[in-house]
């Protein structure tokens, strides 16, 4: 499997002086691999180092040390225009292009790339057909974000960066946005996204990394993150008038015994593994 992104020992700190204590250590030596064609989500609380990491990968920021390959190039030393021709970037909220229509903005940016996508097709794929002639300042938050994504994919990128793409969306808008992202993946685009929403990571990502205090705490598929698949199962039921709860490594065996004991339906039975959110909070809580 080839890697769209590979990172070894990435370190980045900020601050004017080199005196200890005054520098902010944003990224403290992370390793990361994003496979070609996958959706990879970077999770973590504010200040975890997500944005620093992503902006280094995007070529916006320099790094202090570490090995970096993004689409086979090192963004710090590569011919940036040639490399950016293959990369799409969706930043956190922007307000540019207020005086231009959706169509005009996209047609303009398409001219920066050697092999742009068709403007009308892109407008359709992000669902902005009806807003084609609306100016940037007249778009709602969700429509604005769709335009941002449209600008991210207009150059037909091999790799797309999405920084907190659905912040401020209503649930319906998020669902249809997820559909859009899945369509991009099925067309072969590799996607690295950061998000605050665990359900979003679970719904979209092939793999997830959790970052906290500048390090990667864990990296796995959403169903295995933090040993979620090996966590004890929580079984709840009602018996002789009161609610019972059992955490067990052998849920099947426990249920067999339970159903032998209670005749018929077991009242108010539920069997659950910890949610991604519970696992996540455990992970970043354990780091404090």
């Amino acid at each position: 499997m080839s890697n769209a992104i590979s990172v070894r020992g990435l370190v980045k700190s900020y601050g004017a002086t080199k005196k200890a204590g005054q520098r902010i250590h944003a990224v403290r030596g992370i390793d990361l691999e994003v496979h070609t064609g996958e959706i990879f989500a970077l999770l973590g609380p504010n200040g975890a180092g997500k944005t620093s990491t992503i902006e280094i990968l995007e070529g916006y920021r320099s790094r202090d040390s570490g090995e970096l390959r993004v689409l086979g190039e090192d963004p710090a030393t590569t011919n940036l225009p040639l490399w950016r021709n293959r990369v799409g970037i969706v930043l956190q909220s922007t307000k540019d292009g207020a005086d231009l229509s959706v169509q005009e903005i996209l047609a303009h940016f398409a001219q920066y790339y050697s092999n742009p996508r068709d403007v009308d097709e892109v407008i359709e794929s992000v669902g902005l057909q009806e807003k084609r002639h609306a100016r940037g300042e007249h778009l709602s938050g969700g429509q604005r974000r769709r335009l941002d994504v449209a600008l991210g994919i207009i150059g037909n990128p091999e790799l797309l960066f999405l920084d907190e793409p659905t912040t401020g969306f209503d649930p319906e808008a998020r669902r249809s946005f997820w559909e859009l992202i899945r369509t991009l993946r099925s067309a072969g685009t590799t996607i690295l996204m950061s998000t605050h929403y665990l359900d979003e990571a679970e719904a979209l990502a092939d793999r997830v990394a959790v970052m906290n205090h500048g390090v990667i705490v864990d990296c796995a598929t959403p169903d295995r993150l933090g040993g979620r698949d090996r966590e004890r199962v929580n079984i709840r039921w009602r018996e002789s008038g009161s609610l019972h709860q059992e955490l067990t490594d052998t849920p099947t065996e426990f249920l067999r015994a339970l159903s032998a004991r209670i005749s018929g339906e077991i009242p108010e039975l539920s069997v659950s593994r910890p949610s991604l959110e519970e696992i996540y909070l455990q992970m970043i809580g354990g780091q404090e």
Binding site: Y60, D96, E104
Partner: protein, 264 residues
């Protein structure tokens, strides 16, 4: 796969886009194009005196306003709009695309030149129609007009880019930049006859480009006899070229050293 578009091609596209956005922003059209004309009409109606044989204050003022036009469309426009574009994400987004840095500045230069030509043409048209200004009559004067305009707009553009790091935010940019321009206009022989100003004011103004631009424009539009009315009793073309070039070069290095794409 076709070839990647070049620096110039993208620069021209950006220029066209900049002009489109300029036209759609009502404030920019009003402030850059209408406001100077309004000032011209007001001052022209109030001050009608002759300040020297065959020279009225209105004529003196038209020359000064044309010089100011170079500062408005270059320095003022860029020092206000670049911080706004830094705030609204325009600059950061551009840096994330294959568009070369130079293309952004080529686009700005195109915008500045187009808005300058429109503003100067409007001022000239009103000056000729209402205030007895005549277009340069000799090739020498056209030549002076051209180099003063080019050096003026060049240094004004570069200094606007250099100054764009000063305003802390896009919203506050106008409040930082406009007063500087207005004060310079008072000091530099736009609103008042330069030689009637206190000496300290003249000395301060002589450090900045606008004073030299107004003097240069007077040498184009006022009779040669008026040269004796200037501080040095001459048009001082050599000194003007030298000072404007010095600002141009200094501004260039400051801009390269300090330009920021993001709010810090």
């Amino acid at each position: 796969m076709s070839k990647q578009p070049g620096v110039l091609a993208i620069g021209f596209t950006r220029g066209a886009l900049e002009i489109k956005q300029f036209i759609r922003q009502r404030e920019s059209v009003v402030f850059t194009l209408l406001f100077p004309i309004l000032l011209l009409l007001i001052f022209g109606a109030v001050f009608k005196d002759e300040i020297a044989p065959e020279v009225t204050f209105s004529q003196y003022f038209v020359a000064g306003m044309i010089a100011s036009g170079l500062v408005n469309t270059g320095f003022q426009q860029l020092a206000i709009t670049i911080p706004m574009e830094r705030d609204d994400g325009t600059l950061k987004r551009l840096r994330g695309t294959p568009a070369p840095t130079a293309s952004y500045f080529i686009g700005k230069v195109i915008l500045v030149f187009v808005s300058m030509f429109v503003q100067v043409a409007l001022l000239l048209a009103f000056g000729v129609a209402l205030y007895g200004i005549s277009l340069p009559t000799t090739p020498e004067r056209w030549l002076t007009f051209t180099w003063v305009m080019l050096l003026g707009i060049g240094s004004s553009t570069i200094l606007g880019i250099a100054f764009s790091v000063v305003p802390k935010s896009g919203r506050g940019a106008s409040a930082v930049v406009s007063p500087i321009v207005i004060i310079l206009q008072f000091f530099s022989g736009v609103f008042f006859v330069f030689t009637q100003l206190p000496t300290w004011m003249q000395n301060v103004a002589a450090l900045f480009p606008l004073k030299w631009l107004t003097q240069g424009m007077r040498s184009v539009f006022l009779p040669d006899s008026f040269a004796t009315q200037e501080v040095a009793q001459s048009w001082e073309h050599g000194k003007t070229a030298l000072i404007l070039t010095a600002w141009l070069i200094a501004g260039f290095f400051i801009a390269i050293k300090t330009f920021r794409w993001e709010r810090s």
